[in-house]
């Protein structure tokens, strides 16, 4: 199964969809992931990359009441994370805290800090502001966008504001702008909507169908990368929402997830249902106007934007996360519950 791959593997017991970088852990490169099993007892795994970078160590194993559809780690407290879960019939979302001294306990239980229980329909995701300490949370379900104010010490979360996405706009996910604490992008069936959290109003939209996933560039303002089912990856400059700045071919089947490197400019990872993870290099220069594309296209065609394709997976890859501590390392999670951590160092020199 290793098949000459450079990646370090780690197996979960059941199928899984989501993995998240533990950003607040500044001493180790660690990831947190949760399983998706309808009928078994689900688990949350805290995984750490050993100091030599050759092994993945299970740092914590906690049971979670339901199958996990979305999981993200709190960017300022390494022991806190959020999950979206489902019993099969209904959905729930909660903020959890890993108990202290869990190493000594036999069967540590996760401590539920707060339930985000204002939702009715299918919950899609919970978002933390990616750039640091912020006491707000966003949760998105099929029809609504909630802004929660979270108080970790009091262990309470309250709905601060709520807005419906409007008729016939079923939301599917979202991304919080790391450059603007008041801007959120929400993906829905036919477009990406941009919300201003102060007014809870839609400010603009990119009309584009079937967007699976969206991710803001951590370094550059106004740059959003989207993944679409059939038509690959698009890079948008939000000031020019009509035409994408760049297009990448994506995957043979759907492009499921896309994420920008937090450190290196223009490095983009995408995961697809064709059981591959692709590493792209698509820097957006300042003068990369959409209308000068005819000229700009020829050099990009010469240099293939696809740096590498990691294909050593047995099933569709849904989970993808860069390490923010060591930005040349990423973790990927395929549906069969295999975590693979890879280093992109060999490709950095080519930049």
């Amino acid at each position: 199964m290793q098949g000459g791959s450079s990646g370090i593997g780690y197996g979960l017991k059941y199928q899984a969809r989501c993995i998240s970088d533990v950003k607040a852990d500044t001493d180790h490169t660690s990831f947190i992931t949760g399983t998706l099993s309808l009928r078994e007892e689900n688990e949350v795994h805290l995984i750490r990359l050993s100091s030599g970078g050759t092994e993945l160590i299970c740092e914590g194993l906690f049971s979670h009441p339901n199958e996990i559809w979305d999981l993200s780690s709190c960017p300022f407290d390494q022991r806190i994370f959020s999950t979206v879960f489902s019993t099969g019939e209904s959905y729930g979302a909660a903020i959890w805290q890993i108990p202290e001294l869990y190493g000594q306990l036999n069967s540590p239980q996760l401590e539920r800090i707060a339930s985000l229980d204002a939702h009715v329909g299918k919950i899609n995701c919970v978002l933390w502001w990616p750039s640091g300490r912020h006491d707000k949370l966003i949760s998105i379900d099929d029809e609504n966008l909630f802004l929660w104010s979270l108080d970790c010490s009091k262990k309470a979360a309250q709905v601060q504001s709520k807005e419906s996405s409007g008729m016939l706009h079923y939301l599917s996910g979202g991304a919080w702008d790391p450059h603007d604490v008041n801007a959120v992008a929400a993906t829905c069936e036919s477009s990406v909507q941009f919300w201003d959290l102060r007014t809870m109003k839609k400010t603009s939209a990119i009309e584009r169908a079937h967007i699976r996933n969206a991710n803001y560039d951590m370094k550059k303002k106004h740059i959003l990368v989207t993944a679409e089912d059939e038509s690959g990856i698009h890079i948008w400059d939000l000031r020019k929402p009509k035409i994408p700045v760049k297009e990448l071919p994506g995957h043979t089947h759907w492009t499921w997830a896309v994420t920008c490197n937090p450190e290196y400019d223009g490095l983009i990872l995408s995961a697809g249902t064709d059981s591959t993870v692709n590493l792209w290099l698509a820097p957006i220069s300042a003068g990369d106007e959409p209308n000068s594309e005819g000229i700009a296209e020829s050099p990009t065609q010469q240099a293939d934007p696809l740096l590498n394709s990691y294909s050593d997976y047995e099933d569709s890859v849904y989970g993808l996360a860069w390490s923010s501590r060591e930005p040349w390392i990423f973790a990927s999670l395929s549906y069969d519950g295999r975590v693979v951590v890879e280093s992109i160092k060999p490709f950095l020199s080519r930049k």
């Binding site: 017991k13 309808l38 099969g88 089912d229 249902t273 594309e293």
Partner: protein, 755 residues
């Protein structure tokens, strides 16, 4: 009271009518004729008879009604009274305000008379003063006028005295026009006083004018001749036009009536000859006039070529172009004889270079247009299903357009090359380069155009003139497939043919300089089109799978799978899916060649993956108890994957029927699996999926080359559904069979979907 327009209730309305009828002078204007209406309503008319009314009322109504009527009437009367009072008050108010206004007017007018008197006095005094000023200044004004007249006279005299000197100056500076103007201005004075006071002046001026006249005679002769030459030039230009018409005639007989036969080429030649003679004569008379003549001759050549360029824009064959060039060249040679200083051949060579270059460029533009037209015919009549294979027809047509068009173009250019016209002989190298360059650019443009037509590159399309008629949104998948196949054709057949042809007749050149190499690089073009072909094929598959995806998305997001009812029949999305794959098959069979891989691949896969790993799972595991299952299932899956050769789902697409269909179906099934994975099912939902998939199995395997992969994917869908199921108990095989048979029978009756 009556100012508001809101609809009033009946009573108030009647009240108003009453009042208005009271005020209206003409009683006949009340519309109600008493005889027509019931007597009880006649109370409002002028011919109201109280006694009759009373009688009628008493007769018709009982006591209670009468009492009520009484009360009503009393109230009405009261109301009428109040209204009348109000009216009176209102009018009274108006009257009082009118009186006030009149009073004010009266008091104001009293003071006015005195003011008017005062005004009159003042005006009178102003008038008398102005008279005084006028008389006192009169004398001085007279004096000034007289002085002014004297001054004018003196100036004239001065002018006369200066005239000879001025004329002399004008002659020196050759400003004859000015001199004549001065002299004619002074003429009347000379006539009157010439014999007495200005005798000397007159004589001197006349001498000067005589010189002017002499000078002018020479110059004007020259100018006139030049003018004449220019005129004949204009004539010549016209005749060029006719020549073109004549040459058009050769292939367009409908124009015969327009151009008279009386102007043969010889007429043009004669006039050019005449022109040349004129130039020769002119040079003899005026030896130093070359500059002007050269400009004139160059002008002629420029005009000729401008006409040619206009002509080229009208899409002509190179025979026509040759005709025109030949005529021009003859003219140029003629003129060169008489005016060799102008180096007209070189000059016209330059101009011809531009013209021929333009011609080459235009030809390629037209070729591109032709191909695009041939392709767009698919778009124009997709619904006219009279033709059985519209795509095939379009492909053949566009193939022909590419190959035949290119060959024609080459042949056309051959004519230019083979001609022994001096002009073209010198341009030969250039033409070869242009043609090569032209092909290079043409194929690049064609590639761009393909992308544009396929809708992949709808972003920067504003600068494309050719595409105005194309609506990018409505690109047909079939067209994309045609484009893909056409790209392959260009790469494999057209380019080699054209390369051959170019090598045969357009080799050499070299005017571009050696370091650049030949302009036409078939290798590069082939590369471009190979990648274009692949891209377009992918695009086609994408478009097709997207359509199916939409279908599947609807199917899976709409129902509530957790509360699904027991499966009664195969869901209709299966029909749609099969229809779609049939449509793909239909398009693909028209366009793409059959692959030869079929047998090979099948035997191969049979050997390696006899029965897919999911089969035992379906048969055995499902019937086991629930709790143990998932764990062992996953384990089993892993184990199976370890021991089983990985089924390649995403193989490289080839330009064959089977490959395209297989890829599309594979992608669709993969999408199906992903959609299933996103849902949670109850037992019935799972069974529905099981049923649908089971039904798909046979028809899909029949149409698809890679059976193993399809089997694998279909099993994967069922596995995914069972994993996402709360209670995965499959349908009993007999029930499954019965439902499928029922569906088969049903679908065969109205329109058979399964072959």
């Amino acid at each position: 009271m009556g100012t508001d327009d809101v609809p009033l209730d009946d009573k108030a309305k009647r009240m108003r009518d009453l009042l208005s009828s009271f005020y209206s002078p003409d009683p006949s204007s009340t519309p109600n004729a008493p005889s027509k209406y019931g007597i009880l309503d006649a109370i409002n008319t002028s011919s109201f008879d109280p006694d009759q009314y009373m009688n009628l009322l008493v007769q018709k109504s009982n006591l209670e009604a009468l009492l009520q009527r009484h009360v009503e009437m009393a109230a009405e009367i009261k109301n009428l009274d109040t209204d009348l009072q109000m009216l009176v008050y209102e009018n009274y108010n108006k009257f009082i305000s009118a009186t006030d206004a009149i009073k004010r007017m009266k008091s104001n007018i009293i003071g006015m008379e005195g003011n008017m008197q005062q005004l009159l006095d003042k005006i009178m005094s102003v008038q008398s003063r102005s008279d005084g000023v006028n008389t006192s200044l009169f004398e001085k004004r007279e004096h000034i006028e007289k002085l002014h007249r004297t001054r004018n006279l003196l100036r004239k005299v001065q002018f006369i005295y200066d005239l000879p000197a001025r004329l002399g100056r004008c002659i020196k500076s050759e400003a004859y026009a000015d001199a004549v103007k001065f002299y004619t201005g002074a003429m009347p004075i000379f006539k009157v006083y010439g014999d007495s006071s200005f005798q000397d002046c007159k004589r001197a001026s006349e001498e000067a004018v005589a010189i002017i006249v002499k000078n002018l005679q020479v110059d004007s002769l020259q100018a006139k001749l030049l003018e004449k030459l220019e005129q004949s030039l204009g004539d010549l230009r016209l005749k060029t036009d006719e020549i073109e018409n004549v040459s058009l005639e050769s292939n367009d007989t409908s124009k015969l009536g327009k151009v008279s036969d009386s102007i043969p080429t010889t007429a043009h030649e004669a006039s050019v000859r005449e022109f040349a003679e004129a130039i020769r004569a002119y040079r003899v008379i005026f030896p130093d006039s070359e500059r002007q003549l050269i400009t004139l001759a160059e002008d002629l050549v420029i005009k000729h070529f401008e006409m040619t360029k206009q002509y080229i824009k009208r899409r002509i064959s190179s025979a026509n172009l040759l005709g025109v060039l030949r005529t021009i060249w003859a003219d140029v040679l003629l003129m060169d004889e008489v005016l060799c200083e102008a180096v007209l051949p070189d000059f016209s060579l330059e101009a011809a270079k531009d013209a021929v270059k333009l011609y080459v460029a235009r030809t390629f533009t037209y070729l591109l247009q032709d191909i695009s037209d041939a392709l767009l015919k698919v778009n124009v009549k997709p619904k006219e299903a009279a033709e059985e294979h519209p795509l095939q027809v379009a492909l053949e047509a566009s193939k022909k357009a590419v190959l035949q068009g290119s060959m024609d173009v080459l042949l056309d250019f051959r004519q230019l090359l083979d001609d022994d016209l001096g002009l073209l002989v010198k341009l030969r190298d250039f033409i070869i380069d242009w043609v090569q360059e032209g092909f290079q650019d043409f194929f690049r443009a064609l590639d761009d155009h393909f992308l544009l037509l396929s809708g992949r590159k709808n972003l920067s399309s504003q600068d494309h003139g050719l595409t105005e008629g194309v609506h990018v949104e409505k690109v047909l998948a079939g067209l994309v497939l045609v484009l893909a196949q056409l790209s392959v054709f260009i790469e494999q057949t057209a380019i080699p043919r054209i390369t051959e042809e170019i090598a045969a007749s357009f080799s050499g050149g070299g005017a571009r300089g050696y370091e650049n190499g030949p302009a036409f690089v078939p290798g590069e073009i082939c590369r471009i089109f190979r990648s274009a072909g692949e891209k377009l094929l992918h695009h086609y598959i994408n478009m097709r799978t997207q359509k199916v995806s939409t279908l599947l998305r609807k199917r899976f997001t709409t129902p509530n799978w957790v509360k699904h009812k027991e499966p009664r029949e195969v869901h209709m999305f299966v029909d749609l899916f099969l229809q779609e794959s049939k449509a793909i098959g239909c398009e693909v069979n028209q366009i793409l060649p059959q692959g030869h891989l079929r047998k090979h691949r099948r035997s191969d896969s049979n050997g390696s993956t006899t029965s897919s790993r999911s089969n035992p799972l379906r048969d055995d595991k499902m019937s086991r108890s629930n709790t143990q299952r998932a764990r062992s299932q996953l384990l089993e899956t892993h184990l199976a994957k370890l021991f089983k050769q990985k089924v390649e789902i995403f193989t490289k697409v080839e330009h064959t029927q089977e490959s395209v269909i297989t890829t599309t179906v594979k992608l669709c099934l993969k999408s199906l699996q992903e959609f299933v994975r996103l849902q949670t099912f109850n037992r019935s939902g799972f069974q529905q999926i099981q049923l649908d998939i089971q039904f798909l199995r046979t028809p899909l395997k029949e149409s698809v080359e890679d059976e193993a992969a399809i089997d694998f994917l279909l099993d994967e869908v069922i596995v995914a559904a069972s994993e996402r199921c709360l209670d995965p108990i499959p349908l009993e095989p007999p029930i499954l069979d019965r439902l499928i048979q029922a569906k088969l029978v049903k679908s065969k009756e109205p329109n058979p979907i399964t072959p």
